[in-house]
């Protein structure tokens, strides 16, 4: 399979999946006990105002019709207006997407940087005490709830030691947005103070996300390394007397990394799921807090918009992982 046909294949599947997803959320939003027209009209609206809002938002028409109308707007890039922020949802999302992306990307990177080396160490020293220790620690980190880790980290590093800020993304005003990644923007602007502030704010949330991800990567890398160590090609190279260091650092590592990459999509999924909850704990102004808040306020346009956005993120990350895999595995390239 070549790159183009893979991307096309993904796209062909993506459209019906997203349509289905939107339909599910659409129905969900409509069984909410609160009347969206009341929400839209505002708190002190009169009966006429509510009725007027109902008609304006086409809430009096049959559901399928409303759904088709919604899709028509989505295709035109209009996701509607949030009842809560009174802003176009597209604006809300573009404002919040970078925060979540910055967090998850850093989280996945950190998970990889922690997880891969430890997994390699574990796999190469199978059944040593170090291996047992690393396995124990990783299984522990898979077992703890991210929101609980988050709170323990806050308790220790922010409240007791006072080293890192408790919540938020930055102390001062954000630097001029270019990428929306505050750390990068501040760096580009040459604003060291803001950069450090952004950095200090992102440490704990990143760590919270990275720890379970790293645990998954450690386990997976270990398995891949063990598999590679026991692979016939390594047995052959050993029988041919190639130096162990060459076998390990060139051949085994490459085999193991190849299969670890396949797990990146999973880790990204874990991180994004984690972010939904973690953001609430750290008051991180990203998609996760937005999603939770929109759901809690029955802000159904916002819920649909954020679901769509996360669905696209998920699909994109899977696509990227597939492309990466193709790029590094010669067998995928033909």
């Amino acid at each position: 399979m070549n790159v183009v046909s893979m991307v096309v294949n993904r796209l062909v599947w993506f459209v019906p999946t997203v349509l289905g997803l939107l339909a599910v959320v659409f129905v969900l939003a409509r069984i909410v006990p609160t009347d969206p027209a009341v929400l839209a009209a505002g708190e002190n609206a009169t009966a006429e105002q509510v009725q007027e809002a109902r008609e304006r938002l086409a809430l009096d028409r049959p559901l399928p019709e409303q759904f088709v109308e919604y899709l028509r707007q989505v295709v035109q890039g209009d996701l509607g207006t949030s009842f809560y922020t009174q802003q176009p949802i597209v604006d809300d999302l573009t404002e919040r997407l970078p925060a979540t992306l910055e967090l998850t990307i850093l989280g996945v990177l950190a998970a990889g940087l922690i997880g891969v080396p430890l997994g390699v160490i574990s796999g190469l020293n199978r059944n040593s005490w170090l291996d047992h220790l690393l396995r124990l620690v990783s299984v522990l980190f898979i077992g703890v709830a991210p929101f609980w880790i988050a709170m323990q980290l806050q308790l220790l590093f922010s409240m007791q030691l006072g080293w890192l800020p408790l919540s938020g993304r930055i102390d001062d005003f954000a630097p001029e947005a270019m990428t929306g990644f505050l750390t990068i923007d501040a760096l580009v602007a040459g604003d060291l103070q803001n950069f450090l502030s952004a950095l200090r704010h992102i440490v704990l949330p990143t760590l919270t996300l990275a720890l379970p991800g790293a645990a998954v990567i450690v386990r997976f890398t270990r398995t891949s390394v063990v598999e590679a160590v026991n692979s016939p090609s390594v047995a052959y190279q050993t029988a041919m007397g190639l130096p162990r260091r060459v076998i390990v650092w060139k051949y085994i590592l490459r085999l193991a990394l190849n299969s670890t990459v396949t797990q990146l999509g999973l880790v990204f999924g874990i991180s994004l799921t984690g972010a939904v909850v973690i953001e609430a704990v750290f008051e991180w102004p990203g998609l996760g807090t937005y999603a939770v808040r929109s759901i809690l306020h029955s802000d159904y346009n916002a819920v649909m918009g954020v679901t769509l956005c996360v669905g696209v993120l998920f699909a994109l990350s899977n696509l990227l992982v597939d492309l990466l895999q193709m790029a590094i595995d010669p067998r995928g390239a033909t």
């Binding site: 289905g20 006990p33 709830a145 308790l155 939770v292 759901i295 029955s298 669905g311």
Partner: protein
């Protein structure tokens, strides 16, 4: 069966996992009998609120003066009830759908498989939050929300395994001999993929316990004063850093539960999966 039991007992990881898991279940069942303050699930003792751990209250007391240890143990019942129901319905919905979608290659399988993929297209927790919010916070809505959103995990794995089973010679020849679809599915395919389902289910117990605690943490679980772990952890946030003990016990309880499932699942996979076994 006897074989399986002896392998589990011999397999250290599986054994530790099983012991942890049984411990949690046993504690949950016997909860009202073993906790020091069984009435603390519902009643307040304002005079005892926010006390640090002591010999009377092993893990301290909460904002209502409830003994946290008692409440966590009593909360195990709720977690167990939610988890067991969700996992059971996940299996009951997901496995048949996966079998049918994997065995047939027609419109029905497309719809079923597509349905599963739709629900897997965003983090489960987002959909679960939306459903619980629509239904209002209660045990029932948590169970319903998680059941509706978690079955695709079973459907997907059963689907993939069934598809590959369909290319096995013994299945192909059974089909060629005109054996009915139901017989092929239940007599030839299901027994061969049962071990993957079991492994998947074991780890799913942990995931579900996580998810239900997450809903509780966001305030969508059973309403207060129910001793739900996630909610207890969330409550503690208002009393940090002084009441550092507040979130300790519920967090550890959740950890032990998930740990038990992960270890037991790992062990079972080793034991049941001949591929890894051969590798030694």
């Amino acid at each position: 069966m006897i074989n399986l039991i002896t392998s589990i007992v011999r397999h250290r990881t599986a054994l530790v996992g099983l012991i942890l898991l049984s411990l949690v279940v046993a504690v949950a069942i016997a909860a009202p009998l073993i906790v020091p303050y069984p009435e603390d699930a519902q009643t307040f003792h304002i005079e005892r609120r926010l006390l640090p751990p002591s010999s009377e209250a092993l893990f301290g007391t909460d904002r209502m003066g409830g003994d946290i240890f008692s409440r966590v143990v009593l909360g195990a019942r709720m977690t167990l009830l939610i988890t067991a129901t969700v996992v059971l319905s996940g299996v009951l919905i997901g496995v048949p759908i996966g079998l049918v979608a994997g065995y047939y290659n027609n419109g029905i399988s497309l719809v079923l498989g597509g349905g599963a993929e739709i629900l897997l297209a965003v983090p489960q927790i987002i959909l679960a939050i939306a459903i619980t919010q629509s239904l209002g916070p209660s045990i029932g809505s948590v169970i319903l929300a998680l059941s509706v959103t978690y079955w695709p995990f079973w459907a997907r794995i059963v689907f993939t395994e069934t598809r590959s089973m369909c290319h096995e010679t013994f299945v192909e020849s059974a089909i060629a001999l005109g054996v009915s679809a139901w017989r092929v599915i239940f007599l030839h395919i299901l027994p061969n993929i049962a071990s993957s389902i079991v492994v998947r289910t074991t780890t799913a117990i942990g995931t579900t316990a996580f998810a239900s605690a997450t809903l509780g943490f966001l305030g969508l679980g059973p309403p207060p004063p129910s001793p739900e772990w996630g909610r207890m952890i969330a409550e503690s946030r208002d009393y940090l850093p002084d009441a550092w003990w507040y979130a300790l016990a519920p967090g550890l309880a959740l950890l032990l539960t998930v740990l038990g499932c992960t270890l037991f699942g790992d062990g079972l996979r080793d034991i049941l999966d001949p591929k890894t076994r051969r590798r030694g």
